[in-house]
C-alpha cells in the first residue's frame, strides 16, 4: 500500500540533512527539521486523546456516526463518539467549526460498510490495509477555517499593525480573493462590488513623456495619439491622448523630440503611484471577479450582485487598458548586455537588453518583467515595441546554478525564478536559457525531509515556495509536453494568444531545445507531489485557520494564498488535465497525468490554478477569450 493512503509516516532519518562540518546553515536546517518532525508522526501510533484532538480541530475527518458499531468502548473513544469527552475541550467557536465540518463532509460518498468495530480497533494496532479505517487517518484541509481567516480581511478593518502593508492593499485583496476562489468560498456579490470599488480607488493616472518616434512606431500608441484622437473618455476606454502637449520639448536632455501621453496604473493604496506589484495583484483580482460573470452558463451562473460586480470589474479593465500600456512602455529601461557582442553583425550599441522598473523612480528587476507580461497577456497588450530586448534581460538573470536571480548575477532564488520562467512562457521563448540546468535547480529545491520547497540552495523550507517553485515546475511541464491531445486547461479559445500555444495546442512558434529531439518527450511534473502536499497539510496549516511558512512562523494572508496555490499545483496536472474530480477516487499513486489528492479527497481537492497567472484556469481562459477576440485587437 502506498504512502498516500496514510496521513503520515515517512519519518525517514536518512533524509535528514547531513554534514561533515557544522555551520550556521546546517544548524538552522537541523532546527527546521526538528520543528517539522513532530508533525510527521504515524497517526496510528498516536494515543486516543491526541487523535481526538486532531478530529476536534478538523485535521482528521469526523467519525461517521451512522455506520459505526458502537459496542466497543475503545472504538467509541478513538473515533470521538463519546459525547462527554468531545465537547468539554471545545470553545463555542471551535464547536461551530467542527459542526460545520461534519456538515460539509459527505461520508456517504465512501462506501463504508458496516464493520465489526472491535475487530477493526484491533487491526489498527497492526498495519491496516482496509479502506474504511484508513479514511479516519486521512489529513484534512481546514477549508472552512482558512476561508474564515481570509474572509475576515475583506469584511473588517485590519488592525493598526497592518500599516506596514498600507502600500500593498491590492495584494491583500488578491491573496484573500484567490484563496477563497481556490476554496470555492468566494464572498457575496455585494462584497465583490466593494472590492472593485476599492481597486478602482487605487488607480492613479500620470503624465508620461515618450520619444515621438517611439510613439509613431508603436501599434497602440500611434493609433491613439494623433490630432484626431478622441480625448474624451468613451464608455469603453480612457484616452491616452493629451492635446497640445507634444513635440520638441526642450526639457528632453537627449535633445530628441518627445511628447506627453496619459498613462496610469494601480498603486499600493489610494493616492499612491502606480506600481507593478500591486498593479499585477489588482489586475488578477479584477480578472477573478470579471471571470465569475463570464461563466454565466447553466449551473455555473451567478447571482445578480455577483454578475454586477463582474460587469464592473470587466469594464474597469477595458477602460484602463490603454493607459496601462502607456505606463508599461514608460517603465522600459534598456541597458548594455553583460556579454560582449560575439558577432560582427551586432554593434555594441545594439547589444542591449531591456528590463522594466517596478515604478517610476523605482528598482529594476525580473519581477517587473513578469508582472507586466502577465497583465499584457491577459489584456492582449503584448507588442513588439513592448517586448524588445526583454527576453535577453530575463535570460541574463539565469545563474550558474540554473535558477534565476532578480537581476543579472544575483543569486538564484525561487520567487525570481518563477517570474522568469512564467515570463518566458508568456513570451514563448526559451531559446536563450538553459532549460535542463533550470530543471535541475528546481528539482533540487525540494527538501528531502520536509517535503516542501526552499527558495535557494542551502536555505530553509517555506510554504510559499510550494507555489513559486512548484508552479515553475508546472510551467516547464507545459513546455516539455507537446503530446497532449486535449486539455481542459484551455477550452477552445477564439483567438490566438501567444502564451496559450503549448497548452493544449500544437506549439507552432519556436520554443525550446526539445524541438530538436525526435519525438518530444514528456518530462512530467518532476517533483514529488505527495511530499509537497504532505508538507502543506501537516506543517503549514494553522489549526485556527490560515497557512504559514513553517510551524514556528505565524499565519498570514500571503502564505495562505501561496500554500493553497502550491497545493493546487501539486494536485492538478495541467498539461494533460483530466477533470476526474467527479470520480472521488483515491489515487493509488501519483501518476503523472492524473489529479492526485493527498489525504482526505472530499475536503482537500481545491480549484486548479493556472501556473503562469495564478488565478483559476477558468478565469484566465475566459478573460483571454474576451480580450483576444478580434474586436479587442486595437
Amino acid at each position: 500500500m502506498s504512502d498516500s493512503h496514510y496521513a503520515t509516516t515517512i519519518t525517514n532519518e536518512s533524509d535528514r540533512c547531513r554534514f561533515l562540518v557544522e555551520s550556521e546553515t546546517s544548524q538552522l536546517q537541523t532546527d527546521t527539521e526538528d520543528e517539522c518532525a513532530p508533525f510527521f508522526v504515524s497517526l496510528q501510533d498516536l494515543p486516543a486523546d491526541q487523535l481526538l484532538h486532531l478530529q476536534q480541530v478538523g485535521l482528521l475527518p469526523p467519525s461517521s456516526k451512522q455506520q459505526v458499531n458502537t459496542n466497543s468502548a475503545k472504538a467509541r473513544q478513538l473515533l470521538g463518539l463519546d459525547e462527554s469527552s468531545s465537547s468539554s475541550s471545545l470553545s463555542a467557536a471551535e464547536e461551530e467549526d467542527v459542526v460545520g465540518l461534519e456538515e460539509t463532509v459527505d461520508v456517504s460518498v465512501l462506501s463504508l460498510e458496516e464493520k465489526d468495530m472491535d475487530a477493526e480497533a484491533e487491526e489498527e494496532e497492526t498495519k491496516v490495509d482496509d479502506d474504511d479505517s484508513v479514511y479516519y487517518y486521512q489529513v484534512c484541509l481546514l477549508r472552512e477555517k482558512h476561508a474564515a481567516f481570509v474572509t475576515r480581511a475583506l469584511f473588517a478593518p485590519l488592525p493598526a499593525g497592518y500599516v506596514s502593508l498600507d502600500s500593498s492593499r491590492p495584494w491583500i485583496i488578491y491573496w484573500c480573493l484567490h484563496s477563497l476562489d481556490l476554496l470555492d468560498r468566494l464572498p457575496p456579490g455585494t462584497k465583490l462590488q466593494g472590492v472593485v470599488h476599492t481597486l478602482q480607488a487605487c488607480w492613479t493616472s500620470t503624465t508620461v513623456t515618450l520619444d515621438t518616434c517611439l510613439v509613431q512606431r508603436d501599434p497602440f500608441l500611434s493609433l491613439h495619439s494623433h490630432p484626431n484622437s478622441d480625448t474624451t473618455t468613451t464608455t469603453d476606454m480612457d484616452s491616452i491622448w493629451i492635446p497640445d502637449a507634444s513635440s520638441s520639448s526642450s526639457s528632453s536632455s537627449s535633445g530628441r523630440d518627445t511628447m506627453q501621453l496619459r498613462g496610469g496604473g494601480f498603486g499600493g493604496g489610494i493616492g499612491q503611484m502606480a506600481h507593478c506589484a500591486p498593479g499585477y495583484a489588482a489586475v488578477l483580482a479584477l480578472c477573478i471577479i470579471a471571470g465569475l460573470g463570464l461563466r454565466d452558463k447553466g449551473e455555473e451562473s451567478c447571482d445578480e450582485e455577483t454578475k454586477e460586480a463582474a460587469v464592473m470589474a470587466l469594464a474597469l479593465l477595458k477602460r484602463k487598458r490603454l493607459q496601462l500600456y502607456v505606463w508599461f512602455i514608460s517603465l522600459r529601461h534598456t541597458m548594455p548586455r553583460l556579454t560582449t557582442a560575439t558577432t560582427t553583425m551586432m554593434t555594441e550599441e545594439e547589444n542591449t537588453m531591456t528590463g522594466f522598473r517596478m515604478h517610476h523612480d523605482g528598482e529594476i528587476d525580473v519581477r517587473a518583467s513578469y508582472c507586466i507580461l502577465c497583465m499584457t497577456t491577459l489584456l492582449n497588450l503584448t507588442t513588439e515595441p513592448l517586448t524588445e530586448g526583454v527576453v535577453e534581460y530575463i535570460a541574463a538573470c539565469q545563474t550558474h546554478e540554473g535558477g534565476f536571480g532578480g537581476e543579472p548575477h544575483t543569486e538564484a532564488h525561487g520567487g525570481y525564478t518563477y517570474c522568469a520562467v512564467a515570463a518566458l512562457k508568456l513570451l514563448n521563448d526559451y531559446n536563450h536559457v538553459d532549460v535542463p540546468s533550470l530543471t535541475g535547480w528546481l528539482a533540487r529545491r525540494q527538501m528531502s525531509y520536509e517535503g516542501g520547497f526552499s527558495g535557494r540552495c542551502n536555505k530553509l523550507v517555506d510554504g510559499c515556495y510550494s507555489f513559486w517553485q512548484g508552479a515553475g515546475m508546472a510551467v516547464l511541464d507545459l513546455l516539455y509536453d507537446k503530446q497532449q491531445h486535449h486539455s481542459s486547461l484551455g477550452e477552445q479559445t477564439t483567438g490566438p494568444h501567444p502564451f496559450d500555444s503549448g497548452v493544449g495546442e500544437e506549439n507552432e512558434s519556436s520554443s525550446s531545445l526539445m524541438d530538436e529531439k525526435a519525438g518530444s518527450k514528456r518530462a512530467g511534473l518532476l517533483f514529488d507531489r505527495t511530499l509537497l502536499q504532505r508538507y502543506i497539510l501537516l506543517c503549514a496549516q494553522d489549526v485556527n485557520g490560515g497557512l504559514r511558512d513553517k510551524p514556528s512562523k505565524p499565519r498570514d494572508f500571503y502564505h495562505t494564498c501561496y500554500n493553497l496555490s502550491g497545493l493546487s499545483i501539486a494536485q492538478h496536472v495541467l498539461s494533460s488535465h483530466e477533470s476526474n474530480t467527479g470520480s472521488m477516487e483515491k489515487n493509488d499513486d501519483n501518476e503523472d497525468d492524473k489529479t492526485f489528492v493527498y489525504g482526505n479527497v472530499e475536503t482537500n481537492l481545491i480549484g486548479a490554478t493556472h501556473p503562469c497567472f495564478n488565478i483559476r484556469i477558468e478565469r484566465s481562459t475566459d478573460i483571454l477569450n474576451v480580450f483576444h477576440k478580434k474586436e479587442t485587437q486595437t
Binding site: L20, E24, P157, P159, S167, I173, A201, R444, A523
Partner: protein, 375 residues
C-alpha cells in the same frame, strides 16, 4: 534631525495647510485601522503632494511618514523630489532642471539621508524602498564619475563613498549573511566601480564568509560574480582552473554541501560552451579541465568513503551531491561511454534520492538518448 521633534506639533507647523483625508470610498475593502499619528501625518503629506510643495517642512514630514510605513514608495519618491528641489533652489537653478540638481546633492545632505536609510533599514532589512533610496542617491554620482570628465579629486570622493557603502553592506551581512537586498546592492556598487582592485577584494570578501559558513550559497554566488568581473563572458582557461580547484577544495571540506558542487559544474559548463565556438586550444583546455575535475571527484569519493565508513556500518556512506556532480561532468564529456555511465548513475539515484526519482528517471532517459545519438 530628519523629522520633527516632540514639541513641534504638525498642526502648528502646517497651520496654513488644510489636511487632506484619505478618500477610501464608502465601503472600502481591506482597510486598515490606522493610528491617529499616522492619519494626521499622512493627511498633511497628501496636502503637500497636492500642492507639490517641496520644502524643508515637507521633507521632514516625509521622514515622519516613512518612520510609520517605510514601504510607502510614493513618499520616498516625494522625499527625493524635495531633496532635489531644495538643492537646486539653493544653487539658483531654474525649476525643471532637476536632472542636474540630482548630482548636486552635497555631502551633508547625502550623509543625512544615508543615516535615515540605515536607521529605517535596521528593523526592515528586506525593504526594497530603503535599499533603492541609497542607490538612487548614489547612482548619479557614480555615473558622473564614470563619464571620465571629473578630476582625480572627485574620483577619490567617489571611491570613498563606495568604500563607505561597502562597509555598510558588510555590517548588514554580518547580521544576515544571506540578505538578498544587501548582496544585490553590493553587486551594483562593485560593478559600478569596476576596478581590478575591488574585484579581487570582493572575491576575498566572499571567501571570508565561506570560511565562516561554507554553506553560504550567497557568498558562493558572489564569488562567481566577482571572478567574472560582473560580466557573462567565460573565464580564461587559467582562471577557470583556479575556480574549479577552489570549488573542489570546498567540496572536499564537506561533500554534503551542495554549493561548491554547483559552482564547479557552473565553471566547467561555461568552459565547454567555448568548445563549439572556439579554437582547438580552447577545446583541448576544456576537455582537460573536465578530466581533471572528474579525477579529483573520484579521488574525493574514495577519501570520503574511507573516512566515513565505520567498522560497524555495512552501508556505503551516501553522498547524492557527489554523484549528481559526477553525472553532470560525464554528460559534459559527451561521449557514448561517459553518457552510458551517467545514465547508470542517474538510475541509481532514483532510489538513493527518492524525492527526485522522476527527475533522475528523466536524466537517465536523456543520457541514454544522447548516448545513442553520439555513437
Amino acid at each position: 534631525m530628519s523629522s520633527f521633534g516632540e514639541e513641534e506639533k504638525l498642526a502648528v507647523i502646517f497651520a496654513d495647510v488644510t489636511p487632506i483625508e484619505q478618500n477610501d470610498g464608502e465601503h472600502p475593502v481591506c482597510s486598515i485601522d490606522y493610528s491617529p499619528v499616522f492619519v494626521e501625518s499622512m493627511n498633511y503629506l497628501r496636502a503637500m503632494l497636492k500642492a507639490d510643495e517641496r520644502s524643508e517642512r515637507a521633507l521632514q514630514l516625509t521622514a515622519q511618514c516613512l518612520q510609520l510605513n517605510p514601504a510607502n514608495y510614493t513618499v520616498w519618491h516625494f522625499r527625493r523630489r524635495c531633496l532635489y528641489a531644495l538643492a537646486s533652489s539653493s544653487l539658483n537653478h531654474e525649476d525643471g532642471k532637476e536632472e542636474e540638481a540630482i548630482s548636486c546633492l552635497d555631502d551633508d545632505t547625502l550623509e543625512r539621508d544615508f543615516q535615515l536609510a540605515s536607521r529605517l533599514g535596521g528593523p526592515n532589512p528586506k525593504n526594497y524602498q530603503i535599499w533603492y533610496h541609497r542607490r538612487a542617491l548614489l547612482e548619479p554620482i557614480l555615473m558622473t564619475a564614470n563619464t571620465g570628465t571629473e578630476g582625480t579629486a572627485n574620483n577619490t570622493n567617489v571611491t570613498d563613498k563606495i568604500a563607505k557603502e561597502l562597509s555598510y553592506v558588510a555590517t548588514v551581512l554580518q547580521k544576515d549573511g544571506k540578505n538578498y537586498h544587501a548582496w544585490s546592492h553590493r553587486q551594483w556598487l562593485v560593478r559600478s566601480a569596476n576596478t581590478d582592485a575591488l574585484w579581487e577584494e570582493e572575491k576575498e570578501f566572499a571567501n571570508e564568509l565561506l570560511m565562516y559558513d561554507p554553506r553560504n550559497n550567497s557568498a558562493w554566488n558572489q564569488r562567481f560574480f566577482a571572478a567574472h568581473h560582473g560580466t557573462k563572458n567565460p573565464l580564461s582557461a587559467a582562471d577557470a582552473w583556479k575556480e574549479a580547484h577552489y570549488a573542489i577544495r570546498g567540496a572536499a571540506v564537506d561533500p554534503y554541501n551542495e554549493s561548491p558542487w554547483r559552482y564547479l559544474i557552473g565553471i566547467v559548463k561555461e568552459q565547454t560552451r567555448a568548445i563549439d565556438l572556439g579554437n582547438e586550444m580552447q577545446k583541448a583546455a576544456a576537455i582537460e579541465l573536465i578530466q581533471e575535475c572528474e579525477t579529483e571527484l573520484v579521488k574525493l569519493q574514495e577519501v570520503f568513503e574511507t573516512t566515513t565508513t565505520s567498522e560497524h556500518s555495512t552501508s556505503v556512506p551516501d553522498c547524492v551531491n557527489l554523484t549528481s556532480a559526477h553525472i553532470d561532468l560525464l554528460e559534459l564529456k559527451g561521449n557514448p561511454t561517459s553518457l552510458d555511465m551517467a545514465a547508470d548513475l542517474a538510475h541509481d539515484l532514483i532510489t538513493r534520492d527518492a524525492i527526485r526519482r522522476k527527475y533522475w528517471a528523466w536524466r537517465e532517459e536523456e543520457c541514454r538518448a544522447s548516448s545513442v545519438e553520439t555513437s
